[in-house]
Symmetry: C2
DNA sequence: TACCCGTACAACATTTCGTTGTGGCTCGCT
DNA sequence: AGCGAGCCACAACGAAATGTTGTACGGGTA
């Protein structure tokens, strides 16, 4: 591909060969092989060079695109020059929205959004940051969480919860609900088991408001969950407010804000203080510009104190 | 790349090897080479297979994208299965807009928009259609134009002209102008020389309204032209209405509609009747749904009768 | 502890790839 | 018209790569 593009740009094989530091014959051979593989003539050879055929013209932009993608693929992992790699717990939460917005604001900055395998507790994520395999991660950082030297955390997101219900649910037409009203109602959050700080959060939430959260059943994927909730008259689930920007509205589901108090899930950015990646500072600046309001009244946040459970 | 993706999907080299019809050792070698080239470990080898590292996870989507692009590149020219290839005279005219819209309406249909070299008259374009190197082209087809058997034409576009002027031009603030008002004004259309039916059109236009069209000077590119017009108090040029959807508004240029009569440039789609490409019919259906109004009053169209000049 | 499964390493055969050498074609100059 | 310059294709050879078979190593598991 590189040879094809070089030859197309140069208009002749000889010059392309020079640019690639190989012989003209090698270029000729490469192009011939490509033409044989594609079963199409790409150049018309003349005495004064080689001009693209129609097929060649049609192929050229694809070839360039391929080289661009290859370049980006390489840049995404080559140590020392790779894209900024940020971990999010999952792609339907506030950090993902934030990263999308950041990308819109700075399209030139290469980003890689990864999701560490599901058994990653804060500790595992912090270890990954420390090891340098990821540049940053968004996590809830309980006060008692041990943070090694050289690792910094910054509380940059307050994600508030909404109740997601189907049209037949008692709260389907409510403008808002208070956590106290949820007492006795079933809240279904499959897959919410054994996940470190996340379960700690919901344990504390349950204890604080007398909620009933079911975690039964395996996770068959998001569509199944939404389907069941849409059909049910008593199932509900909690989702982050940001997910409204990430889901299609295809199901007949209602999002009911939760008020008095609002249920906040706090998240911090975690990164290595000595990470020299230039994009990291830009990302932190961006987060700074959207920092959540200082906690005010009407808001519930976890204490993350095990004794509260 | 294919091997990497296969191994990532399979979770083990052995199975990937089977899928690729090579030995496990070959897969191992390929992955090892890739890792060496990238200077990054992509898999952690375990006794029960190979799992992606963080780096591998970050790389995977890029690898998939590369394969997709390669697939599309191949599809764009492989005879018998290639994308629908449509020629437009240049990428700033109505056909280009139409193709964009069509692509939005049918994102699944692969399109290749090409531009035949500039010396291509209708005859050359028709020959290209006949030879099958392009599936269709948009051209003005004068009534006297010879069209071979098996080639069909359909008048699907009426592009109306607008006058493009800088802020100091006398018409800069006009809501509209009539062709008669343009008598004596300089209209600059560099590059408009020796272009077959296109020049015929403007020749007839000049004769009909006593216009003065300058074609002096080489074409240095669009930016230069726009620059000069923006700066000049008496230069103007004619552009198609559709170009408003294709140009940025970065220059301080005014588009003045031309009325009484509107100046129409008619264009037809030209294709081979026996072209079996499935996308061709869909494209024609689409064009049908946007067919221009039957010519009504207040419109000027060329007769393309040489004697009129 | 003995296997089973999966990966890595080694040696060898085969294919691919790049180089040098050469011929043929076309354009432009004399 | 003849000749030289410039460019591409084909042939032959050596080097590098790639794939295969054979084998060793290591971690789960019965």
């Amino acid at each position: 591909m590189r040879t094809f593009v070089a030859a197309a740009d140069a208009g002749q094989f000889q010059e392309a060969a020079a640019a690639l530091s190989i012989t003209q014959q090698a270029v000729s051979k490469r192009i011939a092989t490509l033409e044989k593989d594609l079963e199409v003539r790409l150049f018309t050879r003349t005495a004064r060079g080689a001009r693209l055929t129609i097929d060649g013209q049609a192929f050229l932009p694809h070839a360039r695109e391929l080289l661009r993608v290859a370049e980006r693929a390489d840049a995404s992992i080559r140590p020392g020059r790779r894209a900024l790699r940020v971990d999010v717990v999952n792609r339907r939460t506030a950090p993902a929205v934030l990263l999308q917005d950041f990308h819109r604001a700075h399209p030139d900055i290469e980003l890689d959004v990864v999701t560490l395998s599901l058994d990653a507790y804060v500790d595992a994520a912090i270890a990954a940051v420390e090891a340098g395999t990821i540049d940053a991660t968004f996590r809830a950082v309980p006060p008692r969480q041990h943070v090694p030297d050289g690792i910094r955390t910054d509380h940059v997101i307050n994600e508030s919860h909404e109740l997601l219900v189907g049209p037949r649910h008692p709260f389907a037409n409510a403008r808002a609900v208070a956590p106290a009203q949820l007492t006795g109602h079933r809240i279904w959050m499959p897959g919410l088991d054994d996940r470190g700080e996340v379960t700690d959060y919901y344990d504390e939430l349950v204890a604080a408001f007398g909620l009933r959260i079911d975690v039964v059943g395996p996770v068959f994927g998001n569509e199944t969950l939404l389907d069941e909730i849409a059909d049910s008259a008593d199932l509900a689930t909690l989702v982050g407010e940001s997910s409204r920007y990430l889901w299609p509205d295809s199901y007949d589901l209602r999002r009911i804000p939760i008020r008095n108090p609002t249920l906040i899930y706090p998240m911090s950015l975690i990164w290595r203080d000595d990470n020299p990646h230039p994009a990291l500072n830009k990302f932190r600046d961006y987060l700074d510009s959207r920092r959540p309001d200082p906690t005010d009244a009407g808001v519930w946040m976890p204490t993350w104190d095990r004794r509260a459970v």
